[in-house]
C-alpha cells in the first residue's frame, strides 16, 4: 500500500514537472546563453556552458516539482483520483 502510494505520489509530481522543465529549458536556453548570464551575474564563478544548462534544467525541475507537490497536496492527494 505505502509502496503504491509512493509510486503514485512520485508519478504525479516528478513526471509533470520533468516535462515542464524540459520544455522550459528548451525555450529559455534557445534565447538566453548561460554563458552571457554567468558573465553578467557571477563573473568570478567559472563554470562551463554544459553545467549552466544542467543547473538550469534542474532549477526548472525543482520549481515545477514544488508546484506539482502543492497541487497534489491541495487537491487531496490520491484519495480523489483513479477510482
Amino acid at each position: 500500500m505505502t509502496k503504491v502510494w509512493c509510486l503514485r505520489c512520485l508519478g504525479s509530481t516528478l513526471w509533470p514537472s520533468f516535462l515542464a522543465a524540459a520544455v522550459a529549458s528548451v525555450v529559455f536556453f534557445a534565447s538566453i546563453d548561460p554563458e552571457t548570464l554567468r558573465m553578467q551575474t557571477l563573473p568570478d564563478w567559472s563554470i562551463s556552458r554544459m553545467a549552466g544548462y544542467t543547473i538550469g534544467f534542474f532549477m526548472f525541475w525543482g520549481v515545477g516539482l514544488l508546484s506539482s507537490s502543492l497541487t497534489y497536496l491541495l487537491s487531496g492527494g490520491i484519495s480523489d483520483r483513479n477510482e
Binding site: 503514485r8 508519478g11 509533470p16 556552458r49 544542467t54 490520491i78
Partner: protein, 463 residues
C-alpha cells in the same frame, strides 16, 4: 492526523496492490509490425549517432557551441522559430493520426512502448516464456533463479547504459565520447547524463512499464478528446462473442446458445497493460493489437471467422457507415500540409547570414570635421554557412552616406561570429536632429544572394 489515517484505510480497499504483468508472447501480423517498429526505431536511434556527414557527425546537438547540426543544415538559437514549428508539426501529426487511426503512436512508436518491448525480449531470453516467468516469480531463491534473474539484470543494465551513452552521443560527438568511455576519461556532465538517461531507461522500460502509460502519460488522458465515432479503435465484438463460455472444438456452440468467445483469456494474458478488452474501450488500452493477434489465433484453431477482436470504429460497430474524410481530418490534414510546405520552403530560402546592429550608447554623434557627422555602431555578424565568407557593409537611407569598417572586407569563418565597429558618416546638413532611419546591408562577396539588412537610427546635431 486522524482524518488522514481514515483516508488511508479507505484507500487500501480501493487499490489492489499491483501485480507484475507478464504479457504473453503472441504471433500475428500486428506483432510482426510491432517488432518491425522496434527494430526500425531503435535502429535509427542507435545508428544515426554514428553517421558522418561532410566530416562531422550528421546529427549533433552541439550545446556548448550553441549549434544544432542536422545533416547539411546548421541551426542557431536565432532559428528557434524552426524548433517551435517542428513542435507544432509534431503535435498536429499526433492529432491527425489519433483522429484517423486511434492510438497508433502508443501501440507502435512511443519510446515507452518500444523500449519496454526491447526489455521484454531480454526478459524472455533469460527468464523464458510467460508460464516460466510466473513460476520463477513464485519460486524460492535458488541458483537457477539467481542465474536467470541475474543475467536479465546484467542485460538490462548494459542495454540501458548503452542507451544513455547514445543519448549523450547526440550532444557530445559520439566518437570522442566512445574514446572517453574506453579510457575511463569522461567529463563530469557527460557521466552524469549518461547515468541519468540510462537509469531512466532501465526504470521505465524494466519496472514501471504500463504504469507510465496508465498513471504518468498526459496523452493517455486527453487523447479521447481527439477521437470521434469514426476513429479506429480496437474493440471486442460483443454481439458476436457473448455469451462467452468454454466448449469443445466440435460442439455446435450456437445450438448451445453460446457466442464465439470461448473465454480462453488469451487476450487478457497478451495485454501489456493487463486489461480485459471485452470490458469495452478503456483509457489504459494502448492499442498495441496484441489481443487481436491472440484472438485471431484462437479463432483459427476453432475454425471460427477471425475478427472477434478487431480494428473497427464506433460507427462500424453499430452498423453505420464509417467515414474517413470528415471535417477534423481535413482541417488537421490541411494545416499539416501547409506548415510542412512552409517550413520546407523557408528552409530552402534560408539566408545563412544574420546580423545585429547596436548603436554606440555613449555618444549620440561625433563631428569628424566641419563637413561630416559620424555615428558609431557595433555590428555582430553571424555566418551560418558551412564555408567562410568575406562581407562588405553598405548603408542606405540618407543622401551621400557612407560606412567605414576596418577591415573593409570582413572575413568570418564557417559557423562563426564576429563583432566589428562600423562608422557611418553623413555630410553635415543631410541629417539634422535625432532619429533618421537608415539601413545597413551586409553582402557576401562570393555570393551576392547571401545578404542581410538591418535598420538603425542615425542621430545628427539640432541646427
Amino acid at each position: 492526523m486522524s482524518k488522514q489515517e481514515k483516508e488511508v484505510t479507505v484507500d487500501a480497499g480501493m487499490y489492489v496492490a499491483r501485480e507484475k504483468i507478464h504479457p504473453r508472447e503472441v504471433k500475428g501480423p500486428f506483432q510482426t509490425l510491432r517488432n518491425l517498429a522496434v527494430i526500425v526505431l531503435l535502429g535509427i536511434y542507435y545508428g544515426l549517432a554514428w553517421v558522418q556527414w561532410e566530416g562531422r557527425q550528421a546529427v549533433l546537438f552541439d550545446l556548448p557551441a550553441r549549434q544544432f547540426h542536422i545533416f547539411g543544415l546548421t541551426f542557431w538559437p536565432q532559428d528557434f522559430l524552426y524548433l517551435a514549428l517542428l513542435l507544432i508539426l509534431a503535435a498536429l501529426s499526433l492529432f491527425f493520426f489519433t483522429a484517423l487511426a486511434g492510438r497508433l503512436w502508443c501501440g507502435y512508436a512511443c519510446p515507452q512502448t518500444v523500449w519496454t518491448e526491447a526489455f521484454l525480449w531480454m526478459e524472455r531470453w533469460t527468464e523464458g516464456n510467460r508460464q516460466q516467468r510466473l513460476k520463477l516469480d513464485k519460486s524460492p531463491w535458488n541458483s537457477t533463479k539467481l542465474l536467470r534473474r541475474g543475467s536479465k539484470h546484467v542485460l538490462w543494465v548494459l542495454f540501458a547504459l548503452y542507451t544513455g551513452f547514445t543519448f549523450v552521443g547526440y550532444f557530445t560527438p559520439i566518437r570522442e565520447l566512445s574514446v572517453g568511455v574506453a579510457t575511463f576519461n569522461l567529463g563530469g556532465w557527460e557521466t552524469f547524463w549518461l547515468l541519468f538517461y540510462g537509469f531512466a531507461t532501465w526504470g521505465n522500460a524494466g519496472f514501471l512499464r504500463e504504469q507510465v502509460c496508465i498513471y504518468m502519460c498526459p496523452y493517455a488522458r486527453f487523447q479521447s478528446a481527439m477521437f470521434d465515432r469514426n476513429s479506429l479503435i480496437i474493440s471486442y465484438d460483443e454481439k458476436r462473442g457473448e455469451p462467452r463460455g468454454g466448449r469443445g472444438r466440435n460442439v455446435d456452440h450456437k445450438a448451445k446458445g453460446l457466442g464465439d468467445c470461448i473465454d480462453c483469456n488469451l487476450c487478457v494474458q497478451a495485454c501489456p497493460t493487463g486489461i480485459d478488452i471485452r470490458d469495452g474501450l478503456q483509457y489504459e488500452c494502448i492499442a498495441c493489437a496484441a489481443c487481436i493477434d491472440a484472438c485471431n489465433g484462437v479463432m483459427d484453431k476453432m475454425d471460427y471467422p477471425r475478427g472477434l477482436i478487431r480494428y473497427t470504429t464506433e460507427n462500424a460497430m453499430e452498423g453505420q457507415p464509417s467515414r474517413i474524410l470528415r471535417p477534423r481530418i481535413i482541417i488537421y490534414g490541411i494545416l499539416l500540409l501547409v506548415i510542412t510546405a512552409g517550413v520546407l520552403y523557408s528552409l530552402t530560402q534560408r539566408t545563412p547570414l544574420a546580423m545585429e546592429v547596436m548603436a554606440d550608447r555613449n555618444v549620440l554623434y561625433r563631428d569628424v570635421d566641419f563637413e561630416t557627422i559620424e555615428n558609431v555602431y557595433t555590428v555582430r555578424i553571424l555566418n551560418k554557412d558551412n564555408q567562410a565568407h568575406s562581407y562588405v557593409l553598405t548603408v542606405d537611407g540618407l543622401p551621400n552616406a557612407r560606412v567605414i569598417t576596418r577591415p573593409e572586407r570582413i572575413h568570418v569563418g564557417a559557423g562563426s561570429t564576429d563583432t566589428i565597429i562600423a562608422r557611418v558618416q553623413v555630410p553635415r546638413g543631410a541629417a539634422t536632429g535625432p532619429g533618421h532611419p537608415i539601413e545597413l546591408q551586409l553582402t557576401s562577396q562570393s555570393d551576392p544572394d547571401i545578404q542581410s539588412t538591418n535598420s538603425a537610427r542615425f542621430h545628427g546635431p539640432d541646427e
